[in-house]
Amino acid sequence: MDKLKQHLRAHREQLDIDAPGDAVWLNVKAAAPVVKKLSPVALLYRYAAVLLVAAGLSIGILLLLQNSVPVKNAGAVAFVMPALPATNKKQQPVLPSTEPVAQPGSEKKSLANNKKPARIDPYELLGSFSNNYAQLVKLQLKSIRNTPVWGEETGYFNDFKSSLEQMDADEAALRSVIKKNGLDEHLLEQVIHIYQQKLDLLKTLKSEIGKVNGSRKPANADSLKSYFINI
């Protein structure tokens, strides 16, 4: 490298004398592509849509569980419907016989003849439903993590953190029980309850952050040290 180059590179910053006028930045701002920020209403619609899907799925699982719960002693007893010609259906309403008729061997046949819709794996549905709820929780967490907090120390929100951790532990324990004993209505309700609790907690935390920030934000808030909750 020649000496002139060395000398000028060493004092490069002192050669940065010219500065662009304000008009440049205004033009850049005007021409820059606008990043669409979701309005709170749009965000609410998004949450509502996910909740609807989650609610639909949970109802589906409940119905499926109700239908798939095996009837006690079903193997030994079967209710046989009298076969009637299709034309008589309107005049003579068909009622199942109240007397159970034991017909070993006929059970499989009658089940095979009944055209039932394709069975859906309840665990698969539970997984899908959990994913939707987890997505909601994630969205809330992300929103909280990106909200700057001032006016209160980090410790102020520790109770929320520990509650959420407790709920995570409860959920893990519940999943382990489901894995071991299988899924039933009661366990499903508990899973839903935990997710609802989580969402409620995060909602309360968000509102608490809003309150703290709103009530203690002085005029020169920009100069204050803010932090983000690591939850």
Binding site: L4, K5, H7, L8, R12, Q14, L15, P20, V28, A32
Partner: protein, 143 residues
């Protein structure tokens, strides 16, 4: 590099708009400074390629470095040097800025400006000579 405040502002504006549009292509946030700088320099080069009319005689100048008596630039006010660089004629000013301030090699300059490597070298030597002349003149005028 453009030698003109207005043109420089136009180039800067275009470069920033490109940067905003291409922001999604930036892989690591910590590289933002270097990435933006690269866009600005590329825009400068693009502008200069259109603006500079390389004269035939300039393309075949002597590439041998001229004899220089000592470090004539030592102790010079950098504002004077800055003014002198801005006065350099088109072509050799761009080569000088890219080579000295942006640390481009003559090969890089040749590739990006669409000239030969020897032209880049000769333009650099010419820029040095002219710079010395301009600075002497400026010193003589302003003391």
């Amino acid at each position: 590099m453009t030698g003109d405040q207005r043109c420089a502002e136009d180039v800067l504006q275009d470069a920033f708009i490109i940067a905003f549009k291409e922001l999604g292509k930036l892989k690591a946030a910590e590289n933002f400074g270097g990435w933006l700088r690269r866009i600005v320099i590329n825009e400068c080069i693009r502008y200069c390629k259109q603006a500079v009319q390389w004269k035939h005689e300039l393309l075949h100048e002597n590439t041998e470095p001229a004899e220089e008596a000592g470090d004539w630039w030592a102790g010079l006010d950098l504002e004077t040097v800055h003014k002198a660089i801005k006065q350099l004629p088109e072509g050799c000013r761009q080569v000088f800025v890219l080579y000295v301030l942006e640390d481009y090699t003559h090969r890089d300059i040749a590739q990006s400006m669409g000239i030969s490597e020897s032209t880049s070298k000769s333009q650099y030597q010419r820029a040095r000579q002219l710079l010395k002349q301009y600075i002497n003149t400026l010193m003589a005028i302003h003391g």
